[in-house]
Symmetry: C2
Subunit: 339 residues, 2 copies
């Protein structure tokens, strides 16, 4: 995966639709806020600034002691899965979870889903150990409803790690969250990289019962020590602006979804239009890796479906370029498919 | 340890000499550089920006591929010790190493040293698994020479993790570094928190043979993803200013060492004057925790020796306050000792 990413970095194709890195710069008020606090040079508390934790708690209707600030959503998932022997994923899935499980030498169990079943698990499956879920989903764009989350809760004895990185990016109604249920044995993970288009903040948070939060704090204590105070200061403002920024990014991305979907659909590709997040997981009905290479020759980079589980005939396209480029890209998809 | 730290944070004693958090603000040019690059909002490469790795390589006379940028020295140590079953420390030692070993459920082996032996290990000891060393040392201030490092190398079959966080803070000649030896099976860890007095950067680096670097990169990939690009940009300038800033901080801290040492020595405390870092590890000849409490009542905070291994009659004082306060503090130490 990283080899291909490195190839893209070198080749610099005109239309980059590979990584989940939005082209939209972050809100200038957040950047200014960072500049303002830039000279806060000391360590911050291990679990995060009180003001930020308070803000997070307020947004989610939990106690501040049930929140902890982490350097990115992936770190949050890694902290929650630390020492966990069995990890269950629902495929297709973000490759990061596999990297974490591999690092921990955990046994990985994968529940497969298919485009035909709307990327939802069939009724019969078994969750071993902790279950990691990710709705709105990367790469499929499907969204979970409360009933489905409840069903997953009932099927899981271990911890449910709900990566809600894309929770603000939805196109037909706010998705359900794991903490809409009684959240015993559940943890929510959030990222500032997508809604705020600011991966460079390396910031996220975890919401979980106190004993789980304690585990995350111990993990922070033995690794990164804390998150930069100036980054946390900017995050407080970011959360205050979340509704406004969220609405703006949803509008932009929804337009992209529409335009890409209609051009792509017109030449017969099989895919589910995303209801959240900003990816299209497309059946190209040939080897996805080969398709990706041919697409690259035309100046468009995407990731093969292999990266997200064994989806050999699929590719993932990220809506990380402006509208006009998306139209061009979709046409090139059609061209590649015809030849 | 953290309970006491929290107590200090609440009580806000006049003279804070507990944590290793310098009072000196970072060089304003570094802060300005951070402001300048603040809007680099994307992900950075997993192992660090090429320019920064090149700069690190240049300073240490290694290849860029033997370097990797990490979010703090502790993270570097954690990455290097990941999956290591046996970890040997030389006591007294920074508590962070113990937190890492505990997180990893590693077997911890401790080589004890004493004030009488100049805080150096006796001739007979056994290193099991990886050895973590830290010279200039926190908390004792002792420095290792090349011969001693060679001796440790010969005694160790596993990896040597050399935490050289304080390598720029020395008072009688630049200390030896682990990479002055052929550095097979050795890793150097560096931090931007001390020389540059900028813990909020959450920045450090690791220098090691390529296979060890690869392991650290995999750890980053499965946890923090990368270090903020704007922080790395500021680090490039910081390293360019390192000689100048290092000289300045050494001068300031050396003055502090002298003044604190002379006042403290005059009332008979037993300690070794630090040759590096900025801590005094003092034998108070009574229970260090009790002594710390009595000192706190007089407005001075320090850490009991217990935090650094089983040094019950010791306390650690950080030179993290200006000269005038140090004189006052030393006098209060004497007062507490007399009563």
């Amino acid at each position: 995966m990283y080899e291909l990413f490195d190839l893209y970095e070198k080749k610099k194709p005109e239309i980059r639709m590979d990584a989940g890195q939005l082209d939209i710069p972050p809100d200038s008020r957040i950047v200014e806020e960072l500049r303002k606090y830039m000279d806060e040079f000391k360590y911050a508390p291990t679990s995060g600034l009180e003001e930020l934790r308070g803000k997070i708690a307020e947004i989610h209707g939990v106690e501040a002691s049930e929140t902890v600030v982490v350097p990115g959503a992936k770190f949050g998932v890694a902290a929650l899965l630390h020492g966990v022997k069995d990890v269950t994923l629902i495929a297709p899935h973000w490759p990061g979870y596999r990297h974490i499980a591999e690092l921990n030498k955990a046994n990985l169990h994968v529940i497969r889903t298919s485009l035909e079943h709307g990327w939802m698990p069939d009724e019969e499956f078994e969750v071993k150990g902790a279950l990691v879920i990710n709705y709105p989903n990367n790469p499929t764009g499907v969204v979970a409803d409360k009933k489905f989350l409840e069903f997953l809760r009932e099927s899981t004895r271990g911890l449910i790690v709900s990566d809600e990185t894309y929770s603000d990016i939805y196109y037909d109604g706010k998705p359900a969250s794991i903490i809409d249920l009684t959240f015993e044995n559940c943890a929510l993970v959030y990222s500032f990289s997508k809604t705020f288009s600011f991966p460079a903040l390396r910031l996220g948070y975890v919401i979980a019962p106190r004993d789980v939060v304690k585990k995350v704090v111990e993990y922070i204590r033995a690794t990164v020590t804390c998150v930069s105070p100036f980054i946390q200061r900017a995050a407080i403002l970011a959360l205050e602006l979340k509704n406004e920024i969220g609405e703006k990014i949803r509008k932009t991305l929804h337009e992209r979804v529409k335009v890409f979907s209609s051009t792509l659909g017109s030449c017969g590709f099989r895919f589910l239009e995303p209801r959240g997040a900003f990816y299209f997981f497309i059946d190209v009905e040939e080897d996805g890796t080969v398709f990706s290479r041919r697409l690259l020759d035309k100046g468009v980079s995407v990731f093969p479906g292999e990266f997200f589980g064994k989806y050999r005939t699929f590719i993932r396209a990220s809506l990380t370029v402006p509208r006009e480029k998306l139209v061009k890209a979709a046409k090139l998809f059609c061209e590649v498919a015809r030849n």
